[in-house]
Amino acid sequence: MLENIEDILDTEINRIKNDGNFKIQKNLNISPELKIAKILFALPKNQIPEPNKQRKYALSPILDKTLHNGFKFLKIAFASGGSLAIVGTIIFAGMLSAKALPGQTLFKVKKVAEQTRLHLTFNETNKAKIQIELTEKRLNEAKQIFANSEFNTAPQKFAALNELASQTQITTQTIKKVAVSTAISKLDHPLVTSLEIVAKQQKDFAEKIQPQDGNSSLSLNALNTSQQSNNDVKEIKNLISVALTDNTQIHIAKLSENNNSISALGKIVKKEKSIVIVEGLNFLVTPDTLIKTQDEKILAIQQIKDNSLVNIIGKKSLNTKESFIANQILLLATPDDEKNKPVTLPPVSPNTSLKENIFDNENLINDSDIITGSFIVEDPKSEQ
């Protein structure tokens, strides 16, 4: 039994609280207070935002004093360090992925970085150079996997070979694209040479893994990739040969920084004592003119037959109009070569590094002050 007014009032208040429609008896002494209580309970309340960070910390096994003390710090760190963490993770993943091998998780990150580099390269020739670098990289990765017992699992070996095959295909497609368009105007172009080096290295690699690996699928896979690479190289060379033997196609390259220099590729249609004419362009052969074959054999001008395919690099003559002084004549193919057999490229030392090969060629060209790796090819008719 309730004994005082405070308790009675409290009881009635709780009845109102539990039943909003509770009717207050008007004859009670506390009726005015209850009326006020009802008004107070009916006050409209602001909607509070739903908490979205309700966590089961109480159930967490790591709930300890450290977490307790570090809680505020962690909350702040999440807010301010979130973006830093993302950037840091990307950089860290990039660093880790640099050494990742096919079949490993971070290898995908590595490939994304490589693709980004390609997307940021707009010159097709430079893209082709990067593709060759990537092919060599895939080859080295495959070698590493096959040589190291740590990675000596069939799935990783298959992954390495698949990556190699895939990259080789992309590279050859890129070089084919460049070859049939503009830039590759000679058979010993660094791109072609480099691709051939890789193809040869692939062949060596495939032949080595065949006897020591019991899995015939693996060796077959490697051989197929190697065979495909060599076929692609031949195809590219044929593409260029066709372009070179086509008399209607004479490629003239101009240095963008030096309009006096040209490079002409085509058949010699008429030869005089000191004048070589290629499709109407006269080149003066001087004692300083270097005449050589692809295997660096020095020739005399008399040794070059009519209708031979040559690549002439020269400068515009200051004394004679419409003539050029030949600095270098490279014999690419004799008339007999063209009819009976494909043009052969100079032998490449197996110890030659691909990168060195590319840069050596570029340096040679730059030193001669004649031509660069990237140049503009124009139709001679449009010049005239």
Partner: protein, 195 residues
């Protein structure tokens, strides 16, 4: 008899609910984390509301609410059987709010937390008040501080007496007395007004 009556009208309405809470608290005190997890689920929203009304900021309220349960988890084994568990949680929450303002170097009367800051506007939707409600809120400000506090905890936040007593460090009987005095004072102040 009075005690048992008050017991029955706590925020956990039925004796079964009350028994359930007692059981959960006992298990949690013995180190049962799963039981504390159930307590957490039971009280999270209430404590969050209580804190949000006092700090008016969602993320801060979330953080402080988590802090309440972390503190409670660390101290529950030493919880005495006197007082209510719910009131104890509110006491922790109130102290954390006070600490929060101390860290912010906001000068407040910690004994009068509910009557300062933006507490009232955080709770009540002042844009949608009826006329009689506006009058009541106006005259409420004329009440002594302790009466304002009890009435706000009771009617704004709908806390039960045990929780209010724990927060204000008073007995439940004292809370009922203050509540009665406050409502009587409001009646007197509004006698000549149409409400």
């Amino acid at each position: 008899m009075l005690n048992s009556f008050v017991y029955n009208i706590s925020s956990l309405n039925s004796p079964t609910d009350k028994d359930l809470l007692s059981s959960l608290v006992a298990k949690a005190k013995a180190g049962n984390r799963s039981s504390f997890g159930e307590i957490y689920n039971l009280f999270f929203q209430k404590i969050y509301r209580f804190i949000f009304y006092r700090v008016g900021h969602k993320e801060t309220a979330e953080d402080l609410t988590e802090e309440v349960f972390l503190k409670a988890f660390g101290k529950i084994s030493g919880l005495s059987n006197n007082g209510t568990f719910e009131g104890w949680l509110y006491q922790i929450a109130r102290n954390l709010v006070i600490d929060y303002y101390r860290e912010k170097k906001v000068l407040i009367d910690i004994q009068d937390l509910e009557n300062t800051l933006e507490y009232e506007s955080n709770v009540v939707d002042v844009l949608n008040l009826q006329n009689n409600q506006k009058i009541i809120l106006q005259v409420l400000k004329q009440l002594p501080s302790d009466q304002q506090t009890v009435l706000k905890l009771k009617f704004f936040e709908e806390l039960d007496n045990s929780a209010i007593a724990e927060i204000l460090e008073k007995t439940e009987g004292a809370v009922r007395v203050i509540q009665h005095r406050g409502l009587t004072k409001l009646k007197e102040l509004t006698e000549n007004l149409e409400i």
